[in-house]
């Protein structure tokens, strides 16, 4: 404290300084995360089994061709770059969505994977595969429509008096079990090929990345993200408890519904694009909180999500023997130990 008792500064100035100081660590952490995401993005595009130099990459981006490697343009523009961009976008969407639910429902288990949003998307996709032979884009539509339907259903069932948040989680878990069981049944009745592609889709993969898909995702995110940015201070205002938030002049019920819808939409469009990439939404929030010093941050969580997906995809496509391992396997395989480690560390600190 003494370091800060500068006698000539007014108390208000001191409050301002204190606030700046308390935001310094989160800001720094976010800056570092952003750099890390950029680095792993470039790594995904430039390095790996087919390497491209940075000058060549710029040339390709500007529409030129690289001397002596005519295929480079195709590999970068049609494979490596779209995968990286899609990974970046869905990683951020999953990360932000998970953080929204965890903060809103004040429960670390309340990520879209747990409360039925991802299972809903999977059910839509599996139904699409079985009954309409859906692939690619139409598969995405099925996934979005179903996860939204399920989310709206859970919302309608859980609305009313009392603790909506808890009811939402409980109902989500129930509906998730129902959808999961229907999926398992459908998969048991498909031919093995369809079952394989359903299982692949449900693991989450960037292999279907292309510019059409990216532009659709970008378009949808361009609608959703401004809402999240403008309204996110309200989400944080809820964190002091319902009664106090209400007495601060916040309409708690409406704010809660808005963020449930935003969180569902983020998770649903990301799931539609790549399948439910395991664990990203679940771990991004807690990891981001550890990094920035305990507080919740949607930005940090989104960046952690992007980092995890990009790194996992880089490893999956370059260092796993078969070369076709979907990114969702890796995010789970690496995400779980990280989360477990974080939990154990937190337990030791508390103990």
């Amino acid at each position: 404290m003494p370091a800060f008792t500068t006698h000539n500064s007014s108390p208000a100035q001191r409050v301002k300084d204190l606030r700046t100081r308390s935001h310094r660590r989160p800001r720094r952490a976010i800056a570092v995360l952003a750099v890390a995401v950029l680095a792993v993005f470039l790594m995904r595009v430039l390095l790996g089994s087919y390497t491209v130099t940075f000058p060549d990459f710029l040339t390709i981006l500007q529409g030129g061709t690289v001397e002596g490697a005519r295929g480079a343009r195709f590999i970068v523009m049609e494979d490596k770059l779209p995968r990286a961009v899609l990974g970046l976008l869905v990683g951020m969407a999953f990360g932000a969505s998970g953080a929204i639910f965890q903060l809103l429902l004040r429960n670390p288990l309340a990520s879209p994977d747990v409360i039925g949003i991802s299972t809903g998307a999977s059910l839509g996709a599996v139904l699409g595969i079985v009954y309409w032979g859906a692939t690619g884009f139409s598969l995405s539509i099925f996934a979005v429509v179903f996860s939204l339907l399920i989310a709206v259903g859970i919302m309608a069932l859980s609305s009313g008096r009392g603790n909506v948040g808890h009811r939402f989680i409980l109902m989500g878990i129930g509906v998730s079990a129902l959808a999961g069981s229907i999926i398992n049944y459908l998969i048991s009745r498909m031919n093995l090929n369809s079952a394989s592609s359903a299982a692949l889709w449900m693991t989450g993969s960037l292999s279907s990345a292309n510019w059409d898909r990216i532009s659709i995702l970008l378009l949808v995110l361009a609608v959703i993200v401004p809402f999240v940015v403008v309204l996110h201070s309200r989400l944080h205002a809820i964190a002091v408890g319902e009664e106090l938030a209400h007495s601060l002049g916040l309409n708690v019920a409406i704010t809660r519904w808005i963020f449930i819808v935003l969180g569902v939409l983020l998770a649903a469009v990301a799931t539609a694009a790549t399948g439910p990439i395991a664990f990203v939404a679940f771990v991004s929030g807690p990891i981001a909180r550890r990094l920035i010093g305990g507080a919740h941050s949607l930005t940090a969580s989104a960046l952690v999500g992007a980092f995890i997906v990009l790194l996992a995809d880089f490893i999956a496509s370059n260092y796993i023997a078969s070369g076709s391992m979907p990114v969702g396997v890796l995010t789970g395989v690496f995400g779980a130990p990280i989360l477990i480690w974080l939990l154990v560390r937190a337990q030791k600190e508390a103990g």
Binding site: P108, G328, A336, Q347, G351
Partner: protein, 323 residues
């Protein structure tokens, strides 16, 4: 109480009579009274009786495990699944198929039990790190983390080995259709052991409901008792899963429903859960035989189909539930 026993009787009779081929009440009565019945019918009744015995046993075991779990974690969402039992069992089965060349249902049972037990011990051990031991929140978080991680490995294997996918997708539905007396016997002893642990612990669980500190001041050795109950839970659900494949939701729902009916006393909830769980699983199995003729729907699926609406109803109309 009486209603529950009546329901139990009805469920047994229905489970024997109803199916792809319906048995008349008269024929069943003749069979019970050792009067002659046609061979065909006798064979069906024999098979259905075994199957009913399985369904009742597994249902009771899972509901008991669920009641124990909810009591010891003080969490109405407590479910043996939290300890990672199902994901551990699935992982072990897939691993066995992919790398150990196992193929028979009997070997699946062993794999599933080992996987379930190892996983739940791991979850418990990791959650125990820290001063206050395996608290409910830590158990739930650790279980979710480990389950999800194992799920990813399972995905990795089934995407690489299509025969693993083929076996897993059948196994993970959960069914009592393959019931036989030979396969019943090794498991039933473990189930009885687990059930005894839980029944004799019901007073302790009541004390746990008051909080760890209060339980300790009532003279419970909290860490030790929690571990013993946890062993009971693992025996019950690990064995049940190995016998039928994963049957979700029963463990969550049966004690939940009973708490709404008989109140918070675990000395009632625990034994009644067993009866109620048995009824639920027999009904679900019977429904599964007739819901989509001529095919049978596996009991793991119908259990969820029946269970989720009931669960949603409870959440909707019960008083505030704490997480």
């Amino acid at each position: 109480m009486l209603t529950l026993l009546l329901l139990f009787g009805l469920a047994v009779v229905a489970s024997v009579l109803i199916g792809t081929r319906t048995i008349g009440v008269g024929v069943f009565a003749d069979f019970l009274l050792k009067r002659p019945v046609p061979d065909m019918e006798a064979a069906i009744i024999d098979q259905r009786l075994v199957r009913t015995l399985w369904a009742a046993t597994i249902g009771a075991a899972l509901a008991l495990a669920g009641a124990g779990m909810q009591g010891v974690t003080r969490n109405p969402l407590g479910d043996p699944g939290i300890l990672g039992v199902n994901s551990g069992a699935a992982f072990a089965v897939v691993f066995g198929i992919a790398f150990l060349g196992m193929e028979s249902p009997a070997s699946f049972a062993i794999l599933a039990f080992v996987g379930a037990a190892v996983t739940s011990v791991l979850v418990y051990a990791l959650a125990s790190i820290g001063r206050d031991g395996a608290t409910p929140v830590k158990l739930a978080l650790m279980g979710a983390a480990i389950s999800a991680g194992l799920g990813s490995f399972t995905s990795a294997f089934i995407l690489q080995f299509s025969d693993a996918l083929d076996s897993l997708r059948m196994w993970q539905l959960g069914t009592v259709a393959g019931a036989s007396m030979e396969n019943f016997f090794p498991g039933i002893f473990m189930l009885i052991a687990g059930a005894l642990i839980l029944v004799f612990s019901s007073k302790t669980i009541n004390n746990f409901a008051l909080g760890d500190d209060m339980a300790a001041s009532l003279g419970e050795n909290v860490a030790l008792k929690r571990f013993i109950i946890f062993i009971g839970i693992t025996l019950l659900c690990g064995t049940a899963t190995s016998m039928t494949g994963p049957i979700a939701f029963l463990g969550l729902m049966a004690p939940h429903a009973l708490r709404a009916l008989v109140g918070p006393d675990y000395r009632l909830i625990i034994p009644l859960s067993a009866v109620f769980g048995a009824v639920l699983l027999m009904v679900a199995d019977t429904v599964g035989r007739v819901i989509m003729p001529p095919e049978e729907v596996q009991v793991g699926v119908t259990m969820v189909l029946v269970g989720v609406p009931v669960f949603l109803y409870l959440v909707r109309f019960q008083k505030a539930v704490d997480l």
